[in-house]
Symmetry: C2
Subunit: 208 residues, 2 copies
């Protein structure tokens, strides 16, 4: 739908806003008109925050998580277990796992998963730097914590093969099974089948 | 929910994005991480478009619609009927009415409706400038095209009283009734009652 905008400024703001995921031209127009109704300072602050984010963001040189400093607080902490590296797809996943408060190791952010359909191969991801970290010899366990998708599985397998030469390193992956709070009725067959095959001792599920 | 962000840049981008209507902190984080995954130029273009929109936008000196020029293309057009002024709440409403292609007159954008709850009184709106336009003598009809809400009705009534001294000017409002495509079953009683009282001759509804 081509709208007739009264102003090219409005037009270009709507075009840029509608590039955001989940934002169509109608929503983009609503957002732009909202900004026009609010104080000028609010719109300028939003614009500047986005530009600053995009221009000045830095990544940890060890784990590639977002960081203010050369090495991020997690990689720099004495209280974390630096022998256990959890491999995740994105910065978002680091936050999700941190929120569980169940993990005291460190991370490695791949920056995506292998997805030939989207033109993302191993060279576009931080896989070589992971191999380098492991080859340095300090890592005892690598936890593959990618999504349970075809792309996630492919990436898991690729990393597994890359790390195979380092025989002494344990490679684990997140448990797959019935999600907490889900009825069996609504659990898909593959998940249910896997969680039967990989059943755990009853006491195990309470960590004892 | 207070998140632990790895970067104050990310934190402030999320805070600013979450001020947008319909955007919570979770969506704001998703948008910010999306911008980080895309090219730097895309994020910068978005930020600059927002700043430009907010800093450089101009409004038509006659109708207060958004405009690139001192007088907007609608107010400046020879093909529009300058004797008929349609009063609307916002820029958005001008676009909605233009899309119907049923109106050849000109507009007057109030910039809101009277809403004491939100601290918006007549002085915050472009009502005085409307009275001035009408008092200049060229206007023959004022169409009140505000929303069918309590605030819209209040504003309609306020404007009606302000324009009453100019007895020769016809004041009309949008027809209220059953929306096209709506079943009676789903039409509220007040609308249905009004549309009965204000029923039109059958041929009328086809504009003949």
């Amino acid at each position: 739908m081509q709208e007739e905008f009264a102003s090219t400024l409005l037009e270009s703001a709507v075009t840029e806003l509608s590039r955001l995921p989940g934002v169509g031209r109608k929503t983009a127009l609503r957002l732009a008109l909202h900004l026009l109704r609010r104080d000028e300072s609010e719109g300028v602050a939003l614009g500047e925050a986005i530009i600053n984010l995009r221009k000045n963001i830095r990544y940890c040189s060890v784990c590639h998580n977002i960081s203010e400093t050369e090495v991020c607080p997690i990689c720099g902490s004495e209280h974390r277990d630096h022998h256990t590296v959890c491999v995740v797809e994105s910065v978002n996943d680091v936050m999700s796992i941190e929120r569980t408060r169940q993990f005291a190791g460190v991370y490695h952010v791949l920056g995506g998963v292998i997805s030939p359909m989207d033109g993302i191969g191993p060279d576009n991801l931080e896989i070589d730097s992971l191999v380098e970290r492991v080859s340095a010899g300090d890592v005892k366990e690598v936890i593959l914590a990618l999504g349970a998708t075809m792309e996630g599985d492919t990436t898991n397998f690729y990393i597994f093969r890359k790390l195979a030469p380092f025989g002494e390193v344990k490679i684990t992956q997140l448990a797959r099974g019935v999600a907490v709070g889900n009825d069996l009725e609504y659990t898909d067959e593959i998940t249910l089948g896997r969680s039967l095959l990989q059943r755990t001792l009853f006491t195990d599920s309470f960590g004892s």
